[in-house]
Symmetry: C2
Subunit: 332 residues, 2 copies
Amino acid sequence: MSGMNRRRITSKELAKLAGVSSATISRAFSPDSRIGSATRDRILAVAREHGYQPNAIARSLNNQRSRLVALVVNAIGNPCEAEEQQLLVHRLQARQLLPIILCCADHSDRLQLMRLASTYQVDHVVVFSDMVSMQDAVDIFHTTKPIIVSFEPLDNESVSSIRIDGAEAADEIIDKIVRDGKKRFAYLSGTNSSWIDKLRRKWFADALAKRGLAFEAQAFGDYSYDSGFKEAVLLLHRDKVDAIICGNDVMAIGARDAARRVLGKNTPDDIAIVGQDGIAMAAWDCNDLTTLSLDHVAFIDAVVELIERHDAEIEGPHSITLTCTARWGSTA
Amino acid sequence: MSGMNRRRITSKELAKLAGVSSATISRAFSPDSRIGSATRDRILAVAREHGYQPNAIARSLNNQRSRLVALVVNAIGNPCEAEEQQLLVHRLQARQLLPIILCCADHSDRLQLMRLASTYQVDHVVVFSDMVSMQDAVDIFHTTKPIIVSFEPLDNESVSSIRIDGAEAADEIIDKIVRDGKKRFAYLSGTNSSWIDKLRRKWFADALAKRGLAFEAQAFGDYSYDSGFKEAVLLLHRDKVDAIICGNDVMAIGARDAARRVLGKNTPDDIAIVGQDGIAMAAWDCNDLTTLSLDHVAFIDAVVELIERHDAEIEGPHSITLTCTARWGSTA
DNA sequence: ACTGTTTGTGTAATCGTGTGCACAACATAT
DNA sequence: ATATGTTGTGCACACGATTACACAAACAGT
């Protein structure tokens, strides 16, 4: 059974061994197809003995269903998305779907990467990344009707999407900070031009405007701790702000460290710092971050729901909107 | 070119459009095959016009090479491995190889998951997880000669592996801590029985033994911050240890927080805390962890080297050994 | 006993490419 | 001009499974 067999045994070979035709082999592995139960048992026994498993590549070619799902993400390591990714992979695996990961952040030609994946006839595409435009995704995966997790206004009728609304929670957070006496706000972006970043900034900008305030400074990082640290030093020193809203939690932690270490300022008394995402790390005792948080489980539930609609070939795109909540820590 | 085309165009259809046979289409997409350059250009033009790309599934079936790589990991989100994963995915993509992720931590039946992936005829398998045994991986992927990143002694001749040696660095770290006057050591494991855990513990245990010491207590967590926090409280309160060696960095951060928050003890004066892995987060200003660190780039270089040997069909397995280094922070 | 239905299996086509072989057209060499 | 080699293309089969169709056997009902 185990051993050094180089080549995988084929359906036809197994058929010879079991004294049946290869069609019957196939039927033995298809749960609901007409086959004698005695025959099936015998075949499965012989199959186990010889380590036979139907070739998924050949099956996909015939079926026109690959059971592969492309996940287009910025990066794997980044905690901002890692929790969602983990959850989604789990849910896919439970459905016998295998995820193919496409990391955009470090790949020079994202479009080529997506084209490569599209040749594998993936059944579904989930675009998490804010580094690819919706239109590119739709063009490349035009046979697959991708599911876009987007903040970009979608006028395209052939794509399902998930929207996220954090306006109300941003308002709560700004309210608290303003009542604490903070006056000079800065926004620290994660990218210099993505829809998600613009939208998140708008939630907070609107909340400020409601109170006659506005962002006095703006900086651009890259979602990393180091960029949060570096940009926060500039914002605090040059622009003298006393509140920084960050594009994600990791940059917020970097900003907090910069304030404490470089300028000797502490949260929340000297300055207020706010993150976004609500990653697990933000709640650790050493961080205890105030953050605009999204319910990861609800989020992935939504993605899975869209996938299932797509699987059931329910025509027409579908949109789901999720609402963020404020999660309070000691940084604001 | 874009649009709502439901079905992907096939090689034969394109052939009709271009006035050639489907064989010629295929040749137009194979860089080194005999074809007139005029014909090729014309075909590529027509192909672009109709959005044709050769079907990778059919190609794989014919080629017997899928260009898919299975990555067997514990979890995606976990920072312990995330940096390596990210790096490896990047290197694979640069080689036009697509990674299929298998998350073992949350899947009830890991073996079934691996069997599923094996039916996709993956070209390579990289096992990072300490939750699957080498023997299982070899049995299931017996046609693929998996690359195991293992600490388990490998007597199996058909598998390449990467070993990691941290004995010397562990000795350095223990030396420093002992000279600082610490006397009662504890080891906080990440799993209750994996080879990697046993080996790591042994590095430190040997270093202690060399100095006439031994671990006075041992606890078992699950590599998470919360488990580090919880177990550290017990170790410090019940067992009165003054040095904790942790199975990874994340648990070390949890332990440090527990010491500070629950017992009011600070590093490195009251207690010493050591992590393992050397993740980026460990170097953040707020953590500044002393840790037994592995060079991630060298590590992934090694994995890629094994993959390339495997690709070039260089027979015989190969082993690469990497050495850890001590990275000093303020926690020990 | 005769018809009609159900059950189990084999035959053969199909999914979309890649490639060995044959062959025609053309270039080169004696 | 004949022999030899090169280039470009089509035909047909292979890759390994699924499945519509056909058909024999078993079985049911009057």
